[in-house]
């Protein structure tokens, strides 16, 4: 039912009866025992009834609209599979962006589902609970529609085969994963700021739009369709995130400094994770949508700037990290791709050097930095590859204790010098990629010392399969780690040129188009 206005009741009143009217204050069990987690973070809520429902959807309307979307989506996924839609993408390099998506993002959708189920049980107010539960259900949808859309790619291309196993182990996948584990293990209000607000509202356009527009630009109807189908869900999620922050800020002035700290923290955490998206946009899409720098300017600096102007009346200021991010936008995608190129033997997708026309595109998009700092290095890599010396870095990099990205970023004031920060805690030294990550650690060291850092775990011997003996003669640690990751050496990873994916795509496309 779309909530109908009857003679006596307005839409708002009627929806209130359908949701918050259902709850009651318990008396056989104390409320603090029924809702044990919504006070410890120090957020003060005086009147849950002041919560404004960001959307008014009853379950029957939800089922009806969502089922309609599902029917359409699966019809397209089926047609895409039946028609070998994968052969219609621009070129086979594109398929590697989907590997990044399936292993790095789809499992996070599932984490979002769990996180919102948790918050949807624990908030004392019925209004936010109902909204969170709907989001929890949507997030199952997103995880599953992504898995189902990529299922067909998995049948024909390498590297898609074991995403849930990989995200728990592979070095770079600990970056997105630890981000979500961090949010989930925080209190329910921090989760709402981390995911509901910072991620869904401030940063979602920088994740979702690049991937889905990238799919549209590169002829991938399968991935494009789940993205477009999720759009109206995302709109609901954004309004929930915004309502939540406003509600917290309006309830008590003491909430402001806590919320501001979370915004600062989560914007920086999110920005670091989005390095992977920047690299995808600038290097992995054969047909580019826009540069990472342009995306950052439109979606963060302009749109985000307007949002923070709007929140200024509550005393909220632009996240502290914005100044550093404004410098970084000219660099991070190049630095990340240079790293993945070198560590191409240890990822579940292929890497390559951009062609000379692609380098020209990068020069044009990054006039201040690409030719000066990155082109010479990339041309050197390409030359070496041509000469038969494709470079692979076989050492293990040092990781940032907070964001878990290898120490690949440079000093804000000097793009030729790697940025290192460190903190001492209980007799141990911890390393960071930036001031932002160091500050996050320093505020909650007991949390971040727990991080499961893939490189440390390899050194500790925790990334070999049972029965493997690192003391055996001729032991090859990289091969053993790849086995443990379930990455097939030479098939899922390394250089794109000459890969099985490249060969198959070319052969199948010929077969489909010629007699």
């Amino acid at each position: 039912m779309d909530v109908k206005v009857n003679k006596k009741l307005g839409l708002k009143e009627r929806y209130a009866l359908m949701t918050r009217g259902l709850g009651w204050d318990t008396t056989y069990q104390p409320m603090d025992k029924v809702f044990p987690y919504d006070k410890f973070e120090g957020i003060k809520i005086h009147d849950w009834d002041k919560w404004e429902d960001p959307f008014r959807m009853t379950m029957d309307a939800y089922w009806k609209y969502q089922a309609e979307k599902e029917r359409k989506l699966y019809a397209i996924i089926d047609a895409f599979a039946q028609n070998n839609g994968h052969l219609g993408v621009t070129d086979a390099r594109y398929i590697n962006t989907l590997k990044l998506f399936l292993t790095g993002i789809s499992p996070l959708e599932y984490m979002a589902h769990r996180g919102f189920a948790h918050v949807g049980r624990q908030m004392r107010g019925v209004g936010p609970r109902v909204a969170c539960l709907m989001q929890s259900l949507d997030e199952i949808r997103h995880a599953q529609t992504q898995i189902h859309s990529m299922s067909n790619y998995n049948k024909y291309y390498n590297g898609f085969h074991d995403p849930m196993h990989m995200i728990e182990r592979v070095w770079y996948l600990s970056v997105p994963r630890s981000f979500f584990d961090d949010a989930y293990t925080a209190g329910p209000f921090e989760f709402m700021i981390a995911i509901g607000f910072s991620f869904e509202y401030v940063l979602t356009n920088l994740l979702f739009v690049p991937f889905i527009s990238g799919a549209a630009y590169n002829g991938d109807m399968g991935a494009m369709t789940f993205g477009f189908s999720a759009q109206s869900d995302e709109a609901r999620h954004m309004t929930l995130g915004l309502e939540c922050i406003k509600f917290m800020l309006e309830q008590d002035p003491d909430n402001l400094p806590i919320v501001q700290r979370w915004i600062d923290k989560w914007t920086w955490r999110g920005t670091r994770v989005l390095t992977l998206v920047g690299m995808m946009m600038d290097y992995m899409l054969p047909k580019r949508v826009m540069s990472w720098k342009e995306a950052w300017e439109i979606y963060f600096e302009q749109n985000g700037g307007a949002l923070f102007n709007d929140l200024a009346r509550y005393g909220i200021t632009v996240p502290k990290c914005a100044a550093q991010a404004a410098l970084d936008k000219e660099h991070v995608s190049h630095q990340a791709w240079a790293t993945f190129y070198q560590y191409g033997a240890a990822a579940d997708f292929h890497t390559w050097m951009p062609s000379s026309s692609e380098m020209d595109w990068l020069s044009e998009k990054y006039p201040n930095t690409f030719d000066k700092y990155y082109r010479p290095r990339f041309e050197y890599f390409a030359e070496q590859h041509k000469a038969g010396n494709r470079f692979y870095n076989l050492t293990l990099p040092m990781l940032c204790q907070t964001c878990q990205i290898p120490m690949l970023f440079t000093e804000p004031a000097d793009p030729t010098k790697i940025c290192y920060r460190e903190s001492d805690y209980k007799g141990e030294k911890y390393h960071f990629c930036s001031d932002g990550c160091k500050e996050i650690f320093d505020h909650e060291p007991e949390k971040y010392i727990q991080a499961w850092l893939p490189v440390h775990q390899i050194h500790q011997g925790n990334c070999f399969d049972p029965g493997v003996d690192p003391a055996a003669p001729g032991f090859n640690p990289l091969a053993a780690v790849l086995d443990h990751y379930h990455i097939n050496q030479g098939r899922d990873n390394m250089e794109f040129e000459g890969s099985e994916d490249q060969r198959n795509f070319a052969a199948w496309r010929t077969m489909a188009a010629k007699n």
Binding site: D60, K155, E168
Partner: protein, 327 residues
């Protein structure tokens, strides 16, 4: 006549994801239910412990006393993933909508006999709070349970119960008005005949073992409440005053017939290796459920109540025995 269309066929390199192939024991084509369910939840190498529950990992099988060898043995016989779930519910809501429209457009609420209407409102409306309680419990199972195969349908159950609470609200608004909902809430909070049930629901909120909660909510409480209300009370009302209210609660009746299959399948898997534990929970919560719904049965069925409760108990015991429990 058969039309034989041809497509370009390419031999796939693999049939499904490795986590699904490991589950099936071979690389063979897998359903969308399996690809969207098997091993989707993370299992190891968690980064941090929850600030709000440092004794457990993010996903932790020890949040229940159940000992389960394979958490993906908990399959949903309905094979619900998000798509099949929403499509199934959309069909049911379409039927419900037509029923509500029919009752409304024919003025059946106005012509419904007053005594039956009073009884229907008195019995049905406080149940919207019970359904909301089930939403809370099933969302807790979805949030703290282990393995997508069992936690995914718990969220569907939670949302279904929210839907049921909303349908019951609409019954109140159609047969009466918002004041009737307020009165029902007062009864839920104060009327003696609802207090044992309210205590049951509130006690179930604070249970620490999510599978015991599953037993208390989905097996024991629903196992008595749904047949009592949506079979026996429904029949009694129809006999007295015609099928108007029956049309308005059809969703619940059909829903219970469907979901009970999933509940039974889940209990069966849990009981296979945990017979004493699950039997003990079931015994304890069955006894409390009987006590909690008896006053409601007395009001709803009057003279028939004791006989019906005895029959329901017998049916429940037989069902439990079939699921491998010893009560």
């Amino acid at each position: 006549m058969q039309i034989d269309l041809r497509t370009v066929s390419i031999k796939p390199l693999r049939q499904t994801f490795d986590q699904v192939a490991r589950h099936l024991g071979a690389d063979k084509p897998a359903s969308r239910y399996l690809e969207g369910t098997i091993r989707v939840q993370a299992e190891s190498n968690f980064h941090y412990r929850p600030l709000w529950d440092p004794d457990h990992e993010i996903f932790d099988p020890s949040r229940t006393a159940l000992k389960i060898k394979d958490w993906y043995a908990f399959k949903d016989p309905r094979q619900f993933y998000y798509g099949t779930y929403t499509i199934a519910r959309a069909r049911m809501q379409e039927a419900a909508e037509a029923d509500f429209d029919f009752v409304e457009s024919r003025g059946l609420a106005d012509s419904y006999p007053a005594a039956a209407k009073g009884l229907a409102l008195e019995v049905l409306l406080p149940l919207r709070h019970v359904a909301w309680g089930s939403n809370m419990n099933n969302s807790a199972m979805a949030a703290y349970g282990y393995g997508t195969a069992i936690t995914q349908p718990c969220l569907y159950q939670a949302m279904d119960q929210l839907g049921i609470a909303q349908y019951l609200t609409r019954v109140g608004l159609l047969l009466a008005d918002a004041e009737a909902l307020d009165a029902a809430k007062q009864a839920w909070l104060e009327d003696p005949k609802w207090q044992a049930l309210r205590r049951y629901v509130e006690d179930s909120f604070v249970m620490s073992d999510w599978f015991e909660q599953f037993v208390a909510q989905n097996l024991a409480l629903d196992g008595f409440l749904y047949p009592l209300i949506y079979t026996y009370f429904d029949n009694a009302l129809t006999a007295k005053a015609g099928p108007t209210v029956s049309m308005l609660v059809r969703f619940q009746a059909e829903w219970y017939a469907e979901t009970v299959k999933w509940v039974d399948a889940s209990i069966k898997v849990a009981a296979a290796d945990n017979k004493d534990l699950v039997s003990g929970w079931t015994r304890a919560w069955r006894d409390r459920a009987v006590e909690a719904v008896a006053p409601l049965a007395a009001r709803a069925l009057e003279a028939e109540a004791d006989a019906v409760m005895a029959e329901l108990t017998e049916q429940f015991n037989a069902r439990a025995a079939k699921l491998g429990l010893a009560l």
